[in-house]
Symmetry: none
Subunit: 416 residues, 2 copies
């Protein structure tokens, strides 16, 4: 099966947004063994959209239209698809009811302009969009399939995974060749350090192994092609095992599982709770922990003591310590970690204090300097880091290092 | 002048990399007043590359080929361009010398495979690449221009700015047009509500006005084309003024200025400080505020009281209130906001409590229900919201609504 992708939106041609949807969809199609030979981006212009869709239908079995499904006059995808397939549009009563309910929940009535989003080409079916008002479309006509999805990634990605791919797989049946991949996620070891340990493994043809540097971690992706998923997975498993055994504990998870999810899971398994005291990260660490559904079992209390007065008042960090060593110092990180653990009645306490930049550097204390204190059942330790990058990057890296340190403590605890 | 962009590389079609080059080039072309109507991505396949280049040459004056200039057998761009233009390739002695010097500096001789990078289509000239081995190409033939640049962004971006754009501007001469744009950022009014107020303004040709829905706000982009920047800006200004006057205070900023930056700026202007008490948002609100450099002037204290025990202990929310109304309730948001304001000695206190999902809904309390309390010099108010979307989206929307409420309070204060 050959697919083609048409990305729609003048803002894409003007470079105002980067087309991450196209790459996301490409990966999903590749995983399903569907080939994509062309991807075209076109603006919000009826004639050019129609010509592009026509060309795509001429050389592919399935065409994906991304974007242009909103409620405004610029949103032309629905009508262009109906026109090119030579069918009319019907207003779907189920969609109208859904839109009405969505607005009613907020005490409002649906504006007439929004109702165009309930229009579906004849013979097509809507794809549910729990994250926005514009439903997607799946239309089969003359042996071809046209799929349309809204452009915002928060709506697009779940729709592709939950609505589009199951229908596509059902249509593909058993004959397709599948491409499967597994990502091993590494924290606490950089690409330059990890790559030499794996270089010989990176020369294979099927499966392949390739590194991807991410902002505060490294991913190693193993990809295999085979007649079916079980065979592909059997190719992947021994290579994954080799990577794990060479890199050791720094491999913290697979695929889309992030570090906060791993740490919350470990805390839950061990029956432990953590509390946080943050200065330069300003609540981002507690924000990451509470991003995990069910984190209330392991996290109850955090403080953002951004000002020295807050460090004194909420955490009883002594004024003498603050004035002698400065707020960004080993003793302050130590006190923050120990005190929040005590205050919250938690098993672990994390204290973070640092200089995120761009201002704030002083003699001997550069931008990026961060102290991370970890208080646990067996005492308090403080690590000193100097992170590179922008203010946002320093803050992200600090939360990542804090989670990595807590993970290592929880792993050691299990071994003890 | 009409340009078209052809991005070349199977890894793009597989989604292994996101095409940031295309957006970068699009912005550069748009700034120079060059229109782009189509962008096509094609894999490392001679026939499809040739057909795509032919189609692009048929409808554009200048075609940019990005990628496929490396030394491997996959790198076909050079030969496809020469074939489509019907010219031969000559080996450029200057490029050969440059490659030899580059390798000699590392004590090596140039491999024969790398020398293909010194091949230039007859009549064309190479574009210097100080950041890699593959030079770019600028070839004029039959009134058309074909430009080729290597794909790695660290090589591509400087080549576009330093080599391509000066040649392009010289070719455009004085008749060139610039495209300028301004974004008006709106919070607290959805696209469907705002668009009818602006519909007539969205029908203009130059400048144009178009809405873009973002996760928790709406952007209206005004774009004008003119002989120079001053004329373009003069076209934009009156339309921006009309949008502002029709939408009112919900327009909170222009271009890339985000809501937390606006709110921190307002607090600083008024000499006010804010403190935060967060439950379902888990520290993300304080995280956003402290993302703004210099926010320590206006923010010192935040607490994440995720557990009821933390709400009782850190904020003295009475047990009776928690048990009678539940943690997600108007009285709890009220108490959190009032108490954190008092505790921190701040001018404003924000309290957020809600159900981010996916679990946690109860009879009468759906996922997405969030109460936001705002305590200020003139008392405490609580707003009830029901936000749609995923857990992450509910949390983001809650922080956005809290910042929007604080902004409105600060604006009213100035008027009082």
């Amino acid at each position: 099966m050959i697919a083609e992708v048409v990305s729609i939106g003048t803002e894409l041609l003007l470079g105002q947004i980067v087309d991450t949807d196209a790459a996301f969809l490409a990966r999903a199609l590749s995983d399903a063994g569907v080939s994509v030979f062309h991807r075209t981006t076109v603006g919000d212009n009826v004639e050019r959209m129609a010509a592009t869709l026509r060309q795509a239908l001429g050389r592919a079995d399935i065409v994906f239209c991304v974007g242009g499904l909103g409620p405004t006059v610029d949103d032309l995808t629905r009508t262009v698809i109906a026109d090119e397939l030579g069918v009319g549009l019907r207003r779907d009563e189920g969609l109208v009811a859904g839109l009405a309910a969505r607005y009613a929940a907020r005490g409002r009535t649906v504006p007439e302009t929004v109702l165009v989003q309930a229009d579906v080409p004849e013979g097509g079916e809507p794809l549910a969009n729990p994250h926005g008002t514009a439903p997607g479309l799946w239309v089969e006509s003359g042996g071809k399939v046209v799929v349309a999805c809204p452009g915002p990634p928060a709506e697009f990605e779940p729709m592709v995974l939950e609505q589009v791919m199951p229908r596509l797989r059902a249509r593909l049946g058993v004959s397709a060749q599948v491409i499967r991949s597994k990502v091993l996620r590494v924290v606490g070891m950089g690409e330059a350090e990890a790559e030499p340990l794996l270089r010989d493994l990176m020369e294979g043809g099927n499966p392949t192994l390739a590194p991807y540097a991410k902002p505060a971690e490294v991913h190693f992706r193993i990809t295999a092609k085979a007649p079916d998923a079980a065979v592909a997975d059997a190719l992947i498993a021994p290579l994954a095992e080799q990577v794990r055994s060479r890199l050791g504990k720094v491999v913290y998870a697979e695929d889309t599982v992030d570090l906060e999810t791993v740490v919350v899971g470990l805390l839950r398994d061990r029956g432990r709770r953590v509390a946080t005291a943050e200065s330069c990260t300003g609540g981002l660490l507690s924000g990451r922990i509470t991003a995990v559904p069910g984190s209330s079992e392991v996290f109850g209390t955090g403080v953002t003591t951004y000002a020295n007065s807050a460090k004194r008042r909420l955490l009883q960090v002594p004024s003498a310590v603050l004035s002698e060593y400065g707020a960004v110092s080993e003793p302050v990180a130590h006190a923050m970690a120990a005190r929040i653990r005590e205050l919250a009645g938690a098993d672990y306490g994390i204290g973070i204090t640092g200089i995120a930049g761009p201002g704030g550097a002083t003699e001997g204390k550069p931008v990026g300097l961060v102290y991370i204190g970890l208080a646990g059942p067996s005492g308090v330790s403080v690590a000193r880091h100097v992170f590179g990058g922008s203010r946002d990057m320093v803050r992200l890296r600090a939360t990542q290092a804090a989670l990595a340190a807590l993970r290592m403590a929880l792993l050691s605890e299990a071994e003890a």
